[in-house]
């Protein structure tokens, strides 16, 4: 075979494989056939794919819009979508950003990546979960919880407060995720905002001295507690509930619920319209859908166990309504403004 013919064969192979790679691989159920190529919306989401994908597929089936999804990983596994959004700033590809925690959601607004949008469905969401400038809106909250191994910790000894991390009986026997990433970073910063810097720094120094294990993620906390490697740890409601649904010997505890307790942080999902979105009208409709009571009900019924922020949304019996729990009231903007500063303090303090 001559070089020219070989080159032609190779080029044909390359084109064929690209054509195969270019097959439209929707990441979920196919549309109902009414999708028009012109009706497309691109959403980047850090919500866990098993929970977000059914919600987005339902929208796709209902409306016929082609929803192109980009999912994120747990924050300690890859650099994630915020960096992708930042890198694409001069030529945005995403229309909507759905964040599973307010830290990342507010981070993109601080990076100038969002534009205001006032959804009609946001009006009944409490103001504390909405940005006054309408750059982000919260919905379907998760809470910070303890996951406790039933075989290792009797009911009577179940930890009730984050201060349990400092108790001598739990020396080396508790865990939390890396406090400079994700929801744990948000929780850590909320403590700095609530307690003040001096008390919070002492708490984390004492936490380190008491041998609390710092694992790479909330999922790792869940896995190791469920496996009986660690008696208890701090994680999110979805992680704890997934372990319960899988039949692991664990229980879930909302910390700091007593009369003197400060409550547990609630972390709403947030949704933002990306500045320069290529499909702004479709993006707004998708945001309206995500902020609807219908979606909050779906997420409450899922293993994510999200707490609806709209009043009157029907939830399964094991999902508490927002007025049944004591949540740690914080200014989300204030927390988000201090996350990186607190991260640097904790990085040095804990040697991370």
């Amino acid at each position: 075979m001559t070089p020219g013919r070989t080159f032609a064969v190779l080029a044909a192979l390359l084109l064929a494989t690209l054509a195969g790679a270019g097959c439209n691989g929707k990441t979920g159920a196919s549309s109902d056939g009414a999708a028009s190529p012109a009706r497309t919306v691109v959403i980047y989401t850090s919500a866990d794919q098993p929970f977000a994908e059914p919600v987005l597929n339902a929208y796709q089936e209902k409306t016929g819009v082609d929803v192109r999804m980009v999912f994120d990983t747990e924050e300690t596994k890859t650099t994630g979508l915020v960096n992708r959004l930042q890198a694409e700033v001069n030529n945005p590809r995403a229309d909507v950003f759905w964040s599973s925690d307010p830290a990342r959601g507010i981070a993109i607004t601080r990076l100038g990546l969002a534009q205001p949008y006032d959804s009609a469905n946001a009006s009944s969401i409490p103001a504390t979960f909405r940005d006054p400038e309408r750059l982000w809106t919260g919905f379907a909250a998760r809470a910070r919880v303890f996951i406790v191994n039933k075989n290792l910790v009797p009911e009577s000894e179940t930890p009730k407060s984050v201060l349990a991390f400092l108790e001598p009986q739990w020396k080396g026997k508790a865990a939390l995720a890396n406090p400079i990433f994700g929801t744990t970073a948000f929780h850590s910063t909320a403590l700095f905002v609530k307690w003040g810097d001096e008390r919070a720094e002492k708490f984390f120094r004492d936490l380190k001295a008491n041998g609390v294990q710092i694992l790479d993620s909330n999922g790792a906390v869940k896995d190791q507690v469920a496996a009986g490697l660690i008696p208890w740890g701090l994680t999110d409601t979805d992680d704890a509930n997934v372990a319960i649904q899988e039949g692991k010997p664990v229980r879930m505890v909302y910390p700091d619920q007593g009369a003197q307790g400060m409550g547990t942080p609630f972390m709403p999902n947030t949704v933002s319209l990306i500045k320069g979105a290529p499909h702004p009208e479709e993006a707004k409709k998708l945001i309206d859908y995500l902020l609807s009571p219908e979606v909050e009900a779906m997420l409450a019924r899922s293993d994510s166990m999200n707490v609806p922020l709209h009043p009157g949304v029907e939830t399964p019996p094991h999902v508490s309504a927002i007025d049944q729990l004591k949540f740690c009231e914080v200014d989300y903007e204030q927390v988000a403004a201090r996350v990186q500063e607190v991260d640097r303090k904790l990085q040095k303090l804990l040697g991370l």
């Binding site: 990983t73 890198a87 001069n90 040697g351």
Partner: protein, 505 residues
């Protein structure tokens, strides 16, 4: 006119590899003093870099110590079932190291696994196949007549020790260096075992502080370590490139000792596959696996296509660069040496460089939103890995063949196509296979540039691993491994047939 092919290769290399890797560093020049922190904080970075070097040196040393005897047995002897053992030993490279680490964590006691030990074991298991491939390639290209001359004086053990291994040294060193660079830049596995390493500091800048500029600056010490590692062989006394014959070397009959050798290799192979068995147990049942397959067959097809195209592109370009470095320019060894520092640049920085280059209006934007961006990403990432492998092999080809062809009027491209490529075919196939496997498991670049709705399998694994049903995740991991195993199996069958057709001693 004769210089045109060289210019074309170098232009393609500059555009497809150098620019994406260097763009993030070049953009730092646009923003002098824009609030970046110190490049080096001794109290924070010093211990992290020490940990990284300790881990990387241990893994590199371990893979070489295990890889050389395994390569001798698998590539130069009649070891029973050697194709089977070779295939089994290559499997861990097909699996994202984080998955391997999860298996190791479950196999070993946490008291043993957590910390340095678990991280070192996992990364040795993951990277041993790479060292094995490099070593095997080197051992296969040794001069037959020099070994035969040595056989007049000594037996095969002496020949291997005094002739074969020294001649294979360039490949052995190249393998050790790449294992070192991969190990020093790895982040996910050390984090899993709570072992703090320097690459974590880079990652933290991205994922906790969203500080791209500081992240790129923090990566520079890692690149400098790779520069030092790349220069070491150039300064090594007695290190010389040797030219070899183009014939296959002899394979040695082991007799009854072959059974013992096969047993030993089998034990090593089983130990390396143990973490994967642990993972496979999570599949649960055939229906669970079937359900997992149904959900991923489209992404599997997409992944296969992009990885195959990326591997082909990477091998073609790396062949061109190796040809230029070895045959067409003076001081080409420095072009080869420069590949290691390029490979040391964290993949996430390369990914962000790809976005900045290709996410532009016009035709570049069309490329960016197509699967072609993944192909370009894989090529940019893996060409620096392949060039030293191909260059070391190129140096073994006798120059006399080129001279004879030139006397006959052949130009450089005809010599490349009609003489070099046929002689290099086995190495090119191995290089393509290696790149395909690495592309299937690649995550950082794919996370950043995969077009929406077209995430490759490895990315899907990481986006599902957190809270998807265990059977679904395990099924996805099994499918990814099988996908990468298909060309491995095909290659092994072809290799076995080729060696059988040529006969042996």
């Amino acid at each position: 006119m004769r210089r045109l092919p060289v210019a074309a290769v170098l232009a393609a290399y500059a555009g497809l590899v150098l620019l994406p890797v260097l763009t993030p560093f070049l953009t730092l020049l646009d923003q002098p003093g824009s609030g970046a922190g110190p490049l080096w904080e001794p109290e924070l970075h010093g211990p992290l870099l020490t940990n990284s070097l300790r881990l990387a040196l241990t893994v590199a040393g371990g893979t070489v110590l295990l890889g050389i005897p395994l390569a001798l047995l698998l590539y130069r002897t009649h070891l029973p079932l050697r194709s089977l053992w070779l295939g089994a030993l290559l499997v861990p490279l097909l699996v994202p190291p984080y998955i391997l680490g999860t298996g190791v964590l479950h196999l070993l006691s946490p008291r043993v696994a957590v910390g340095f030990t678990g991280a070192a074991v996992t990364m040795t298991v993951w990277l041993l196949p790479l060292a094995l491939l490099f070593a095997g390639t080197g051992l296969r290209l040794v001069t037959r007549n020099q070994e035969e001359a040595a056989l007049l004086e000594t037996g095969w053990p002496g020949v291997f020790r005094h002739v074969t291994l020294p001649l294979a040294l360039p490949h052995l060193l190249a393998g050790a260096l790449f294992v070192f660079v991969l190990a020093v830049g790895e982040f996910g596995v050390p984090v899993l075992f709570q072992y703090r390493v320097y690459s974590g500091a880079i990652f933290t800048q991205f994922a906790a502080f969203y500080d791209f500029r500081q992240a790129v600056l923090t990566a520079l010490p890692l690149v400098l370590v790779a520069v030092a590692a790349a220069l070491a062989p150039q300064l090594l006394r007695g290190y010389r490139d040797r030219e070899g014959a183009a014939e296959d070397p002899r394979t040695v009959s082991l007799g009854r000792a072959g059974l013992v050798g096969a047993g030993g290799v089998g034990v090593v192979a089983l130990m390396m596959l143990a973490p994967l068995f642990q993972m496979g147990l999570g599949v649960g049942s055939v229906p669970a696996l079937r359900s997992g397959l149904e959900q991923v067959w489209v992404p599997a097809f997409q992944t296969f296509g992009a990885a195959a195209a990326g591997a082909a592109a990477a091998v073609l370009l790396a062949l061109g660069v190796a040809w230029v470095a070895v045959r067409r320019v003076r001081y080409g060894q420095w072009l080869v040496a420069a590949q290691l520092p390029l490979f040391a640049v964290p993949a996430v920085i390369l990914g962000l460089g790809l976005i900045r280059l290709w996410n532009q209006p016009g035709w570049r934007g069309l490329v960016y939103v197509s699967p072609l961006i993944l192909v370009l990403g894989y090529a940019a990432r893996f060409v620096p890995l392949l060039v030293p492998l191909l260059a070391a092999t190129y140096r073994q080809l006798p120059v006399e063949l080129d001279e004879a062809a030139q006397l006959d009027g052949a130009g450089p491209l005809r010599i490349l196509y009609h003489i070099h490529v046929p002689l290099l075919r086995p190495v090119l196939a191995a290089a393509g296979l290696l790149t395909f496997v690495l592309a299937v498991g690649e995550v950082p670049i794919s996370m950043l540039v995969a077009p929406p709705g077209r995430a490759p399998l490895a990315v899907r694994f990481f986006t599902l691993i957190t809270n998807a049903p265990a059977e679904q995740v395990a099924a996805l991991a099994v499918v990814t491994t099988l996908l990468a195993l298909m060309p491995v199996g095909a290659w092994l069958m072809l290799e076995t047939k080729r060696v059988s057709d040529r006969g042996s001693d």
